[in-house]
């Protein structure tokens, strides 16, 4: 296939590059993934099943699902609103707004948890008031939800805004001219146009919400069966040298990661025209 390479580019160079690429991908990406599933299966199916149905493990799985179920819809609604404001209107401070929206991707996950501890922790700004009213945010589920909301905040807006901007508003204006109400216009014209980018953003938001470790670790308090999400439960099992059980839960999360990548790829291949890859390359931001 001459068009695949520089004319005159030696074949040995090409073969070496491909071989080196395969080696790098194997060592750096395939082996870590393989070790997860190998270790998960190390003690047999019965042990794995017992580890996954252990009450603490089930509680962790339930909590992770609960957090994702709260976080994804909230960040989807606000992400859509932000994308609409940023892509179709020019106003003072627009650039600053976009920069602030990027912040959660730039700061350390530990700082993302720390800011809520300083806000709502016992010695934090609102701590005494919350304690007096017996409201628990830190070392409880609300803190986990808040810090997860923070770290997953930009996903939907960053997928949707570039597409909204690229597609323009001709159809929306036509709908309005023809007498559609704003809500009708949004539901019947805008939403169908951006649905695949929206779905991709929600998918990525969900993956991060289920897998977040650093931010959640700071605010959770690690109470077994109560405030442990799946990643935190993995840490506890691992530190107790219960490797097979730790990798059992890790296997579930790794499977979720693979499913996320596969779904995203499928969406991109099927709807390539409506999901220009370059412009929607959210992963290019520090996560």
């Amino acid at each position: 296939m001459p068009s695949d390479r520089l004319i005159g580019e030696p074949a040995w160079l090409r073969a070496t590059a491909i071989a080196a690429t395969l080696a790098v991908i194997t060592v750096m990406l395939i082996l870590p993934l393989a070790v997860v599933f190998t270790e998960a299966a190390a003690k047999g199916r019965a042990f794995l099943l017992a580890a996954l149905t252990d009450p603490d493990a089930l509680a962790a799985i339930r909590l992770s699902l609960l957090v994702a179920a709260i976080v994804v819809p909230i960040n989807t609604v606000f992400g859509l609103a932000a994308a609409w404001a940023v892509s179709h209107f020019r106003f003072t401070g627009r650039g600053l707004l976009v920069a602030v929206m990027e912040l959660p991707f730039a700061v350390s996950p530990v700082v993302s948890g720390l800011i809520y501890v300083l806000m709502f922790g016992l010695q934090g700004w609102c701590g005494p008031w919350l304690a007096a009213h017996n409201i628990h945010i830190i070392f409880a589920i609300p803190g986990i939800v808040l810090s997860t909301l923070f770290v997953t905040l930009p996903f939907v807006a960053r997928q949707v805004a570039p597409l909204m901007q690229a597609l323009g508003v001709a159809e929306e204006e036509a709908a309005l001219t023809l007498g559609a109400s704003p809500w009708h216009m949004f539901r019947r014209v805008t939403l169908p146009k951006i649905r695949w980018a929206l779905l991709t953003g929600m998918l990525l938001c969900n993956a991060r919400a289920m897998g977040e470790f650093g931010a959640v670790s700071v605010v959770s308090g690690h109470i077994r069966g109560l405030t442990n999400t799946m990643p935190l439960h993995i840490e506890i099992l691992y530190n107790e040298y219960n490797l097979a059980a730790a990798f059992g839960i890790a296997g579930l999360l790794a499977a979720m990661a693979i499913a996320t990548i596969a779904l995203r790829m499928a969406l991109e291949w099927q709807h390539h025209s409506s999901l220009a890859r370059g412009s929607a390359a959210i992963w290019n931001q520090p996560v």
């Binding site: 179709h88 209107f89 929206m101 922790g121 700004w125 905040l153 508003v169 929306e172 309005l176 691992y238």
Partner: protein, 276 residues
Amino acid sequence: MTARYPALPGFRLALGLTLLWLGLLVLLPLAGLMLKAASLSPAQILALLATPRSLAAFRVSFGTAALAALIDLPLGLLLAWTLTRYRFPARRLLDALIDLPFALPTAVAGIALTTLYVEDGWLGALLAPLGLFPAFSPSGIVIALTFVGLPFIVRSVQPVLADLHREAEEAALTLGASHFAIVHRIIMPPVLPALLTALALAFARAVGEYGSVIFIAGNRPAISEIVPLLIVIKLEQFDYPGAALLGTAMLAASLLLLLAINRLQRWTAAERAYAI
């Protein structure tokens, strides 16, 4: 406030919701962090930051992150080049796999890499006879951060390589240019800014990384202890001002990097537009 499309509805509602969302979740808590750190006197700040343990943590965090980003640079360039330029079996599958470090939860990556590189692990057993024991040392941190940063390089460079006009290279070859001249004069100018952006992105991500590092690092104070872990330790000791100060320092570093990345991305876009 000028609307690009004056007839378009929903501006007030959308902007209002956005400001509420960002204000409550991002700005207010970040202001709380900085206020907490600002409540310290300069002497206290110096006493907290200039301890050997804090200084060592900053050295470890920034040093390992820089090293990992530099290791990722040639590896990522190789992967981007091969995956963009050549056609071979399973190319699309391997290309999809590049996103793994983005999608795999950091705790999972952490325990997987540790298990791989401990002395009797799949890779650790190969390195041990050579006298290399990367797990539970700064080298382990570099390994974890290299994993985390790799996709930033590949995904930043790939679109630029895909945009390159093959005709220019072919024309240069017909005119007698050497391969070196082609790489130097045609391929490098648009790729270089993308590479620098990628380097900054990988570094920015690595500096704050926590989950994938703490399992493999060994976490020995002043040797393999990163700043995010020190923040967690300060919080566990209820040293809120100390944690806030370290957190503010990390936030400042992130903001500076964000600014640099923004500049680099503009340069990349300009060079890309020029190359096309």
